[in-house]
């Protein structure tokens, strides 16, 4: 049995029998040149363009969905009646302060002895604080160590859509971020659902952070400012990084590269005499994109900033500015810090490794690792454990407890004597 094929009609002259929308458009162009092509006609005028789709029953709220037309994955907001909300009907997510009984974000921070050292490093010789900018990325390894409340920090800079992260959101809402960085293309930052945010684009357009650095000033992002790409590139790359017959024009392999360049620019131009950069939540360990593509440029800028007299600081377990190695573990291949390669030649390749690999060994094998320890590097920190907890958990005997309890009880007995019977 043959199935009768649906045809389309022209909404201007009621001619029927068109087999496709392009045929209708062609007809409108030739017969009705002053009219709109593919007009958004009233449903009654264009019943053939209405498509009814039956979707699986979904719970109200944000739900993942595969588009029935193009099969791409998307997210929809399902209303209480089971229908899908239009964009204007999607409720604004509540701020973290409005959530009652919501999931408590996991609390993590830096080790107290490191906080002491951070305070010390931020000081000038006269005891006042250096002009320090703290930058934060989104890598969970070190982002929670961001010093949100510590004194001695002039500005805090964040990037991309991290404003919606559970342990970042309330800091942004309480005005603890001075500048935001969104250096991607417009097609990218206008997307609705991004990695950490449900509506990054709306957030960018709001008055959430006083300054937002972007590729240019966007009229619909009132707080946006243009990153001075050409001026900064000519200032710091210009004739300094030669390649072949000329010079490298740009070398910004991730957003942090722009941020560091901006710090250098402001220092050189006398806008702010930046003296220290602290970077948290930036690891660039993902091999294909981050490690190979993004890390080289960023490390180049870090070196340039340090040579300009700007101190650069990372948490002790950060992968950036440190030699790396890959090891196979039961959980798969993992990146680890590789101290042995921090002084190539002095420390690695080691003779032990060479022997294990049955490589030839030359004469004077005792001249191994002659670097030794240098005075004044006592602050170098390896395994951070809380000194207080360490002392509390120190080895003791039961006799210690007995003595301490006796003393404590004797002390408290004094107060019980004062209590009337």
């Amino acid at each position: 049995m043959s199935k009768k094929k649906k045809t389309l009609n022209c909404v201007y002259c009621d001619k029927t029998g068109f087999k496709s929308k392009s045929a209708v458009d062609s007809h409108i162009r030739s017969k009705h040149p002053n009219m709109q092509i593919a007009p958004l006609g009233h449903p009654e005028q264009q019943p053939s363009q209405q498509v009814a789709i039956t979707l699986p029953l979904m719970e109200p709220g944000q739900q993942p969905l595969e588009c029935p037309f193009c099969n791409s994955k998307t997210q929809v907001f399902v209303k209480d009646d089971g229908t899908i909300a239009s964009s204007s009907e999607v409720p604004t997510p509540p701020s973290s302060s409005e959530i009652v009984g919501g999931k408590e974000p996991i609390r993590r921070a830096e080790i107290p002895v490191v906080i002491d050292e951070r305070f010390a490093q931020r000081r000038r010789p006269d005891g006042t604080f250096k002009n320090t900018v703290c930058m934060m990325g989104t890598h969970g390894r070190t982002a929670p160590k961001m010093p949100w409340h510590e004194i001695g920090i002039k500005e805090r800079w964040l990037l991309n859509d991290s404003h919606s992260m559970s342990y970042v959101k309330h800091h942004v809402e309480q005005g603890r971020v001075d500048r935001w960085w969104q250096m991607h293309h417009r097609w990218r930052f206008t997307r609705r659902v991004t990695r950490h945010s449900e509506d990054h684009w709306t957030w960018l357009q709001g008055d959430n952070v006083p300054r937002i650095f972007m590729q240019r000033k966007f009229a619909d992002v009132p707080n946006s400012e243009e990153f001075k790409l050409r001026e900064i590139s000519e200032m710091f790359i210009g004739d300094k990084l030669g390649r072949g017959a000329g010079y490298v024009q740009v070398y910004y392999t991730n957003t942090f590269s722009y941020m560091i360049a901006q710090v250098m620019y402001e220092k050189k131009m006398g806008i702010t005499d930046w003296e220290r950069i602290e970077i948290y939540g930036c690891e660039l360990e993902q091999l294909e994109t981050e490690y190979f593509r993004q890390r080289p440029g960023m490390e180049w800028w870090l070196g340039a900033a340090a040579q300009m007299g700007i101190q650069v600081y990372f948490p002790h377990d950060t992968f950036i500015a440190y030699a790396q190695d890959l090891v196979n573990t039961e959980y798969g291949t993992r990146m680890v810090q590789y101290p042995g390669y921090m002084a190539y030649g002095y420390k690695s390749p080691s003779m032990k490794e060479a022997e294990e690999q049955r490589q030839p060994i030359g004469v004077d094998p005792i001249e191994e690792n002659v670097m030794g320890a240098w005075d004044g590097y006592h602050r170098w920190f390896i395994h951070g454990i809380n000194e207080g907890l360490s002392q509390m958990n120190r080895r003791h005997t039961l006799m210690d407890f007995e003595n301490e309890n006796d003393a404590d009880n004797a002390w408290l007995d004094r107060f019980e004597e004062d209590v009337p019977a």
Binding site: A109, P112, V113, P144, Y167, N386, M392, A407, D408
Partner: protein, 219 residues
């Protein structure tokens, strides 16, 4: 929390020899000393010093252990303000609160310790200590309304190890409210609570982070 014998000895000596009043007969002093013993070298700040019992106990244990660091006292020595505190609870007799900076310094001299007095209110934070950071702090100043919370807010970003507070008890609901809120912030956590004394510590990295075998290879 372990209460060291040394802490009890120091508290006993301070209570016996101090000229003037030690808060609640010094009942919290051994627990304060225990907290100081757990901290490393560095400065300490004492808010609401009165005759100096708590600040002197801290200075004595730091001296005993050879811990470096100064002990700062912040107190406006405002009789009117003290009277307000005293009338809040019957157990404090107003005349025992009329301390002076001179009496604080006399006590410090008697015990052979050095105290740095900032003769001001703790809020707004004194300009002299604008850039100061501390390893430990003790709050025992204004107990009313927003004052305990303001003291915590002023300290949270400049103290690296422990913040303690006295009078965490039913009679001082504003103190309880402030410390409860403080121990639920994203940077501070409950360390221990004994009688009326409460100590907060910094939120730490997860234990699994601190011992992660892949965080650093000893190569």
């Amino acid at each position: 929390m372990r209460i060291p014998v040394k802490g009890v000895e120091i508290a006993t000596r301070v209570v016996k020899e101090i000229k003037g009043r030690a808060a609640d007969q010094g009942i919290s002093l051994p627990y304060l000393v225990a907290m100081i013993m757990a901290a490393p070298d560095g400065d300490h700040v004492d808010i609401g010093s009165l005759f100096g019992a708590s600040a002197i106990a801290v200075a004595l244990i730091k001296k005993e252990l050879g811990h470096k660091g100064k002990v700062y006292c912040i107190d406006p020595y405002d009789d009117e303000q003290r009277l307000k505190q005293a009338t809040h609870t019957e157990k404090i007799e107003p005349e025992t609160l009329s301390a002076s900076p001179e009496e604080l310094m006399e006590n410090a001299e008697h015990f052979g310790v050095e105290l740095k007095l900032i003769h001001k209110c703790s809020h707004p934070w004194p300009e002299e200590l604008k850039d100061a950071t501390f390893v430990t702090a003790y709050i025992d100043g204004d107990h009313m309304q927003d004052a305990p919370w303001n003291d915590f807010e002023n300290l949270r970003g400049r103290v690296s190890h422990y913040i303690s507070c006295d009078n965490y008890e039913e009679e001082y609901s504003d103190v309880v409210k402030a410390m409860w809120k403080a121990m639920n912030t994203d940077d501070w956590f409950l360390y221990y609570k004994t009688l009326t004394f409460v100590a907060l510590r910094r939120v730490l990295p997860h234990r699994s982070d601190r011992t992660a075998p892949f965080s650093l290879l000893s190569l």
